[in-house]
Amino acid sequence: MNNQKEFIPVIGLEIHVQLATKTKLFDRGSADWFGKKPNTVVGPLALGLPGTLPVPNKKAIQWAMLLGKSLNCKINKISKFDRKHYFYPDLPKAYQISQYDQPFSYDGYFEFISPVTGTKKNITITRVHLEEDTGKLIHQGNETLIDFNRSGVPLAEIVTEPDFDNSDDVKRFLEELQVHVRYLGISDADMEKGSMRLEPNISVRHRKSEQKLPNYKVEIKNINSFRYAKQAIEFEIKRQEHLIRSGETPVQETRGYDEFKGVTFSQRRKEGAEDYRYFPEPDIPPFIFDDDFLKVIDDMMPELPHERLARFIAQGIKPGDAYVLTRSKSISDTYELIIKEIKSSVEKLTHKSKTLEGEIAKLIVNKKVSIEKDTRSVIKEIIQQLTPQETNEEELIQVIESVIETNQKPVQDFKNGKENSITFLIGQVMKTMKGKADPVGVRKSLEKKLTDT
C-alpha cells in the first residue's frame, strides 16, 4: 500500500467533454464535424476571418451548468468568457475563448468506489467551465495540414483537485465519469473519438515530505483510452520517481504520450511558461443568471447513475448486476420499459432471484437475451426463458446425439480435459431446441453422454 512506498504520486485531472450540441459554441454553424471532409464544416468565425464575432450557444451554457450541478458544484450567477492567448496553427484567432476567473460552476465533488481500497473515494471538482475547441493538425513529411472543422465546437472542461494517488483510481474515476456524462445526455464521451479527453497533471512527493503539493507538475497530453491513461500515468510516475531519486526535480512541462512505445516524451515548444494574457472577452456581454434560468437547468437534471443504481438494488437486483446494468443509460432505460410491460402482462413467470426484476436484470447482464433487438422481441425472449419449459425428452436425446456427432473437435477437446468445450455443445443443443430446454439439464445429459462413451 502507499504508506509503505517511498513516494506518493499526486495526480489531478483535466477532462474535456465535447458537448453534442447541434451548433458550435460561438456560431450557429453545424457542429457535426466528425468524419467529414476537411474544411467543410467551417464558418467565418471558426475560420478566424477578419470581422467575425462570437455569439454564445445557450444550450452549451445550460449543459455546462447542468454538468457542474450534477457534480455538486456551486453555480456562478455572474459569469463571463475570457480570451486565452497563444499562437498555434490550429487556433485560428490566436486566442481561445474560454473562462478564467468566473467559470459557470466550481467547488463540487464526485464519489466512486476505489478498486484499490474497495471504499468510497471523494474527488473534489475544482471547476467546470466552457471553452471552444481547436482545429486539427495532420503532420505529413515536412508539412502540416490543417482542418478547421472541429474549430469552435463546445468543450466543457472539468478540473479536479490533485486528489488521486494511483492510476487504478484514475481509470475507475474516468469510467464512472463517462457513464455519468452519458446519463446527462450531453455528450457521447468517447475517448477514442476524442469527445472525452484526459490530461492528467502528475507529480510525486516523498512520503515523509512536509509539503502536500510538490513544487512542480507535469501535464500529459494525447491519451486516447482509459487503458492508455493507466499506462501513461504509471510510466510517468516511474519516470519522475527515478529523477527524484537521482536528486533532480522533474521539469514542469507538457509531455505527450506515445501509445506504441508506451512512454511519455517532452513536447516543449518554447522556453518558459506560456503567458496567456487573459482578459475578459469584450465581444460577449456578461451573464447575470436569474432564478428562472437556474430552474430550467434543475428541471433538466435526469436520474444520475448512482441514483439509478440505488433504486435498482432496492428493487431486488443483485448489486453486481445492478452495477453492470446501470453502466448504460439506454440499456437500463430499456430494462425499465420491459419491466413495466411484463409486469402488466398476465404471464406466469418463474424466477430464481429474489424478485422478478432481479431475474430479468440477470438475464440481460449475462446476455441470455439480445437486448439490442426491438423491445417486443426482447420481451418475447424473456417470457420464453422464464416460462417453465416442457422439454420433449425424446427430441432432446436425439439432438444431443446429433450435436455430439457433428461436433467432434469440441467433443475430443472436452474428453482431453478442456472442460469449457462443453459450453459450446450446450449452446448448440439449446440452439437446435430453440430454447425449449433447461440448460442445466442439458449440461448434465451431455456430461453423462460424453463421459460414458
Binding site: D27, N39, P56, E143, I146, F148
Partner: protein
C-alpha cells in the same frame, strides 16, 4: 506620485515581440524601446485617479445574457472552396504550412 516606470530595454522588447509573435529587426529595437517607454510614462497619470471601490470588470456594452438557441443557421457554414479561397497554400481541402514540431 513618483514615476515608477523603468525604461524598457532591448531585451524587454525582444521578449514582448516573442510574446506577440512579431519579428523585430535589431535596428528597430532601440526606437521601439524608447517609444513604448514614452507611452508607459504617459499612462502613469492614471495613478492620480482613486479607483478603490470600482468593480474589477467593465463592459462597454449594456447588453447582458446574450445567448442564442442551438438552431443551425445554414448561411454560416461556407462551401469548402470559399473557406480556402484566400489560402496561400492548400492541398486536398487542407491548409498547408511548414511542419510544426
Amino acid at each position: 506620485m513618483a514615476d515608477s516606470v523603468k525604461k524598457l530595454t532591448k531585451e524587454d522588447i525582444k521578449h514582448i515581440a516573442q510574446l506577440a509573435n512579431l519579428d523585430i529587426d535589431n535596428d528597430e529595437l532601440e526606437a521601439y524601446s524608447k517609444q513604448l517607454t514614452d507611452s508607459l510614462h504617459y499612462v502613469e497619470n492614471l495613478e492620480d485617479i482613486d479607483t478603490s471601490g470600482v468593480p474589477d470588470t467593465f463592459f462597454t456594452t449594456h447588453a447582458k445574457n446574450s445567448m442564442q438557441e442551438d438552431v443551425i443557421d445554414e448561411s454560416v457554414t461556407l462551401p469548402q472552396e470559399e473557406v480556402l479561397q484566400n489560402a496561400p497554400k492548400k492541398r486536398n481541402g487542407y491548409f498547408v504550412v511548414k511542419r510544426i514540431l
